[in-house]
Assembly symmetry: C2
Homo-oligomer: 534 residues x 2
């Protein structure tokens, strides 16, 4: 009986998705890749749905697209159709969408073209940029359920503030994207839409919780994506899918109009951040949003404008591993590669000995669920939908505490933040270059180790993820025969590395900056990327 109820409710959301798909852009069955074909990136071209021009458009970053539209070389409509086609194929292969909004976006694209035709000007810095958005972010008059079956009836009364900011800057929205149950997995599976896949290797997760965004940007179904990050949920998907991502300092980006169980939890705040196809697009996104002074509506935000900046002559601390779980061989290899490139280029590089990440991990786990996970359980139990293994895993860390215990942990958190900051200053380290995860994207359902990303949420430091340009090559990345585990977690994570399973999975870097110095962090990442990738 209960099963029927949640299933029928889930079906409402599935039907909305199904009806929103433009079937004329689907890949014919005979052209679909075979079961052996795990890397489906090539399908964008092979499907034969996109023209050469459309392929070129979808492989251009947002900054480039806006430049082309501003020069009158491409129309917004053309750009939108290209991405909409690619998103349709992407969804067919990866199951990343929760709802397409192509007709409405096309309508808006035509308005932009008319405006440009009439005035010769673009409407704003994101003129005609197609953006995909994690489902939990509100669109007026559309449902928003955050992957909880129980919430499927909820209709959003207005666009989220960030969406309104982006629209005003000229952005278009053609697709909403999948997220895992509880939005507390570095993975992407739920009872409504099921599992989203990684475009570089279907056996692997695209990451999470903004997993649909990872797949979207990885397959280039959108020029920019909007995800949320409380423990790595922007950065893991970006890293796992070969895209770029930013977790900004808390209280910089607008949050108003996002559905989350446990709203009002402020010990570690969730924040919205962009996934992109270039670092300069992160800058473009942030500037476009913050130039609109969202703090004038959402007053809890800190009114600091986005100050696009240069950052030179900095010292990079290299964190080879976090002292809790060692990285997989391919991750070590790309770090090594990057460090050599930086040294060759004359960048000052020092080793960064991680400071008590295990302690930080304990504080983080406690502060992510101080209500004992009750708000999440309540949302799950309201429909009776089954609780998935990774939800159980996450909630396993949830211990209900009282107010005084929460306060004590807030004090602990601040102390840890201060200590970490002072250590960076004492060691003369401006930025920390480190892995985003122990390795490349894990197999579905096995993303258990969050601390490479979540530690920076606790510390509230801006964190930028960017691709190394390398994927896992099983032939050159053998298992490390000399590996000696430091602890059980370390052992468990290392055991997961079976080279053949990770073929082609992208490998990413993470660059960490100082509190509220998001702009400098993005600027430094641009220099570091240029040096490492040439």
């Amino acid at each position: 009986m209960i099963r029927e109820t949640w299933e029928s409710k889930a079906q409402i959301a599935r039907d909305i998705l199904a009806k929103s798909i433009k079937t004329e852009w689907l890949v014919p069955v005979d052209k679909l890749p075979g079961n052996h074909q795990l890397n489906v990136i090539f399908m964008a071209r092979e499907a034969g749905i996109l023209t050469e021009q459309e392929l070129k458009i979808t492989e251009t970053d947002a900054t480039g697209l806006v430049e082309s539209m501003a020069a009158g070389e491409v129309k917004a409509e053309e750009v939108l159709i290209a991405f909409a086609k690619r998103a349709t194929i992407g969804h067919q292969l990866l199951n990343f969408a929760t709802e397409f909004m192509i007709d409405e976006a096309l309508e808006e694209a035509k308005k932009l073209d008319a405006y440009f035709h009439k005035t010769g000007n673009i409407v704003g810095p994101l003129h005609g940029v197609p953006i995909s958005v994690k489902e939990m972010v509100h669109f007026k008059d559309r449902r928003c359920h955050t992957a909880y079956v129980a919430w499927i009836d909820r209709v959003s009364p207005e666009d989220a503030l960030l969406i309104r900011n982006l629209k005003k800057a000229g952005a278009l929205f053609h697709v909403r994207t999948n997220e895992p149950q509880t939005v507390m997995h570095l993975d992407c599976n739920n009872n409504i839409y099921g599992r989203t896949l990684n475009p570089y290797n279907l056996n692997l997760t695209p990451g999470g919780s903004s997993g649909g965004e990872g797949a979207s940007l990885g397959f280039r179904c959108a020029a920019i994506g909007v995800g949320s990050d409380i423990g790595g949920s922007v950065r893991a998907p970006a890293a796992f899918c070969g895209a770029y991502g930013l977790r900004p300092t808390m209280l910089r980006n607008p949050w108003k109009g996002v559905s989350l169980a446990g709203e009002g939890q402020e010990s570690i705040r969730c924040t919205l951040g962009p996934l992109t196809n270039s670092l300069r697009d992160i800058d473009l996104f942030q500037k476009s949003v913050l130039d609109q002074e969202p703090w004038e509506e959402e007053t809890s935000l800190v009114p600091i404008p986005w100050r696009t900046t240069e950052r030179k002559d900095f010292v990079v601390g290299i964190m080879w591993n976090d002292g809790v779980a060692q990285t997989h061989p391919p991750m070590r290899r790309i770090l090594d590669y990057g460090v050599n490139k930086l040294k060759e280029a004359g960048v000052k590089v020092v080793d960064w000995e991680p400071f008590e990440h295990a302690r930080g991990g304990k504080i983080t786990q406690a502060l992510l669920f101080p209500d004992g996970g009750k708000s999440i359980r309540k949302a799950l139990e309201a429909s009776g939908e089954p609780i998935m293994p990774l939800s159980k895993f996450a909630l396993n860390y949830a211990k209900e505490m009282n107010i005084a215990e929460n306060w004590e942990l807030n004090v602990e958190r601040d102390k840890f933040r201060d200590q970490y900051h002072i250590l960076m200053k004492e060691r003369g380290v401006d930025f920390i270059l480190c892995p985003t995860f122990v390795g490349a994207a894990p197999e579905h359902g096995t993303a258990h180790y969050w601390l490479y990303t979540s530690i920076w949420n606790l510390l509230d430091l801006p964190a930028v993820v960017f691709p190394s340009g390398f994927g896992v090559d099983p032939e050159i990345n053998a298992v490390d025969g000399n590996f000696r585990p430091m602890n059980d977690i370390d052992k468990a994570e290392q055991m997961k590395y079976v080279p053949g399973k990770f073929r082609d999975a992208p490998l990413a870097y993470q660059l960490i900056g100082k509190h509220f110095r998001d702009e400098e962090t993005v600027a430094a990442a641009q220099i570091v990327e240029r040096i490492i990738r040439g």
Copy 2:
């Protein structure tokens, strides 16, 4: 038995105070005012302890003093002695100090003079400025108990960050000051030192919880004072004692190194703020502190420098009362006076209809004590000291809630903040001019109504208090025969107004600005004060 224990412990702190007093500067008994003499402001002169030059020094604001010292007209030692003498008299009359530190301050003053003699320069923007500090703020190797008998053995390991900032700017610290039990009264009485009195009328409270600071600045025992404010604790004392005060936006001023029961409570944060003898001194204080980038040590602070600014052509909303408790006749009179002056000067003035302050008051009461006051009770019970009536009154509002209930109230708070801000914008109001309290300083033990100050803590708006220049004159401020109570609170507060009881008590204005626009608020207050007071 328990009684003996807490009494003997309290005696330790009392002895420290007693030993720290320079008895040679005490007023001879025969020169002390008679019992009929409630306004003791005149005693600074009449006591015959201070020279004419010393009287002049203590009646100069900090900005003026630094100018004189920078010009070589006055020495830091001279300034320190003048204020130390006045503070000694002030304490004798008002019982405002918890510890004098005159010898150490004199030592430092001499170093400043030597530096100036050698270089011709002052060491910093607060060169030689004597500052009094609320007891709860840490001084290295000195005890800090926050008026809890149980905490008297606690010795601070280092100076509070704010103290270090101020020292670096050249400030001197000659006296620490009294605060009420629980630091949650708009009054100033505790089991250790007893009651602090109002220099303008000994039957009235100097306010609280920074009541010692109110008395200190009111009697000009220091050029600047440091208080803390979570519900009005800087502003009520400043207003009640004829001084100036600022509650800055949260997370601007350093907080590290303050003892408070319930540390880690972040729903409504307590913040340190200055009490001064002029508005320009608030600007001087804030700039001197924030120029030192305290966020480089206390990383939870927002890194926004103090941007001294001009503010012209603004609209002032006049909040005649808060819709919950009407003001006393003298308060209405000075508001009326001020509004007329502003209108005459061509300032755009509109009425500000308060927006749901009763609702705000409920949220505030709940969020000030979400642990049900347990942390406070624990600190009280640890010594067995008696709980005072105003502590019982405050704790009466304390209802223990669980984490989820706290989160819901956080959401409610943010919604209220956003609504209030948008209303100010819609009505075109830049600043709100309003009372700091229903009237002048209340009688001891009767300060029950916080909402004229605490509402701005909930809203996290910067609030500046400045004196009207008028005190209560019972002859012209009769009871309002036409008063009709709106509710029981309103009735109770109005009943307290018996004109003769409030003779000479200062009347103050409060100016409210927008979130993080502290600088503009201080700048606007300067213009408003200049217009009203000529």
